[in-house]
């Protein structure tokens, strides 16, 4: 149930996620070492175009990557096909996108505007 287009989309999103995940972990360790509080961290991320782009692209990549991966599992393990499979793929992707966007806004949107 994967054609070349979906396969490439899943590989490219994996390539995007890999450095972002490493960056996320590195910053997390750095922030903990320095003893930053949640308020101090949010003070740096909220309103920052860089962190919005950083986590925004991560959320987009995750939603796409996971939806395609779950699509394969749904087809091979549950036997979903046709419209049900397409609906499942889009549904999963949009749900992850919505949840990710909610977190993105909470962390990077300028304080007082949420």
């Amino acid at each position: 149930m994967l054609d070349l287009r979906l396969y490439m989309l899943q590989r490219i999103t994996a390539l995007i996620m890999a450095p972002l995940t490493l960056g996320h972990i590195a910053v997390m360790i750095y922030a903990v070492q320095g003893g930053l509080s949640a308020e101090e961290i949010l003070g740096r991320t909220q309103g920052s175009v860089f962190w919005f782009s950083f986590y925004g692209s991560f959320v987009l990549a995750v939603a796409t990557h996971a939806a395609i991966g779950l699509r394969v599992i749904a087809h091979e393990m549950i036997g979903l096909t046709g419209r049900a499979l397409t609906g499942f793929t889009w549904g999963t992707g949009l749900l992850l996108l919505a949840m990710g966007t909610q977190a993105l806004i909470a962390v990077t949107w300028p304080a007082g505007m949420t």
Partner: protein, 252 residues
């Protein structure tokens, strides 16, 4: 001294018989039937099946031709694993004096041990497995260097005997019936690397559809079970590489 294994005790003349369960029926239904077969020192699974048909039940249906591992027609499931039965010694697979023999997995069953091979061969064609010559008989024969890197890739897959053991072993085929399977994709990879094949882009298109090479999870059962020690998993990886490259090339 090595400990006595279960098959040795079954073959030492004390018990003298093998307990063989053989699938009787079709895809619509059936069950395993038990037979007692004389144990011999040198005996293949195909010998056991033939003994049952000759001496116990003449209605047992099975398929074989060459008996020497060349034709690829006698593959069956033996104790749940796909094997070429003419080259599988009973001693190798016997468990406590018992063996279970069934039709190949992932294919419809016509009767008893005979699987319908049509889906398997249809997928060879779907994967672009038919040779398209690059020259006519009037043209001079272009030389082929056997040491050439591309030719080495092509030669790696040409000993396939179409036995469908890789297809039966593949869990991706089991979960996704549209998947072309290891043998058809290895054939496509062989032709793609064949300098005398004239339609490489047709192959890349044929293996890029919904049932194409990108569905492979690289579990490697095809390579593990191939009786000729071929490596369809690497052939499929090669197709993934080439289709990925063409994905960017064609968008330029």
């Amino acid at each position: 001294m090595e400990p006595v294994t279960s098959q040795e005790s079954a073959l030492d003349g004390q018990s003298g018989t093998l307990e063989v369960s053989v699938w009787r029926g079709t895809s619509q239904g059936g069950d395993y039937q038990r037979f007692e077969v004389p144990a011999l020192e040198n005996q293949t699974i195909l010998d056991v099946v033939s003994w049952i048909q000759h001496y116990a039940d003449a209605t047992l249906t099975y398929r074989f031709a060459c008996r020497v591992g060349m034709c690829g027609s006698c593959a069956m499931m033996v104790n749940g694993q796909p094997r070429w039965t003419c080259r599988t010694h009973v001693k190798k697979v016997l468990k406590a004096g018992k063996v279970q023999i069934g039709p190949l997995r992932n294919l419809p069953v016509i009767k008893d041990l005979v699987a319908d091979m049509d889906p398997f061969f249809d997928k060879w064609v779907t994967a672009g497995g038919a040779h398209a010559p690059s020259a006519t008989r009037d043209d001079p024969i272009p030389p082929v260097d056997p040491q050439d890197a591309i030719r080495v890739e092509a030669s790696a897959g040409i000993e396939c005997i179409n036995c469908s053991i890789c297809y039966a072993a593949c869990d991706t085929v089991a979960g996704n019936p549209d998947y072309l399977g290891p043998a058809a994709l290895q054939r496509a990879w062989t032709l793609l690397n064949d300098a005398k094949h004239d339609a490489p882009h047709q192959i890349l298109d044929a293996v890029s559809g919904v049932g194409g090479c990108h569905n492979c999870h690289s579990m490697g059962s095809c390579t593990v079970f191939c009786p000729n020690d071929l490596d369809p998993m690497s052939a499929i990886a090669g197709l993934k590489r080439e289709t990925a490259k063409s994905f960017f090339r064609r968008r330029k």
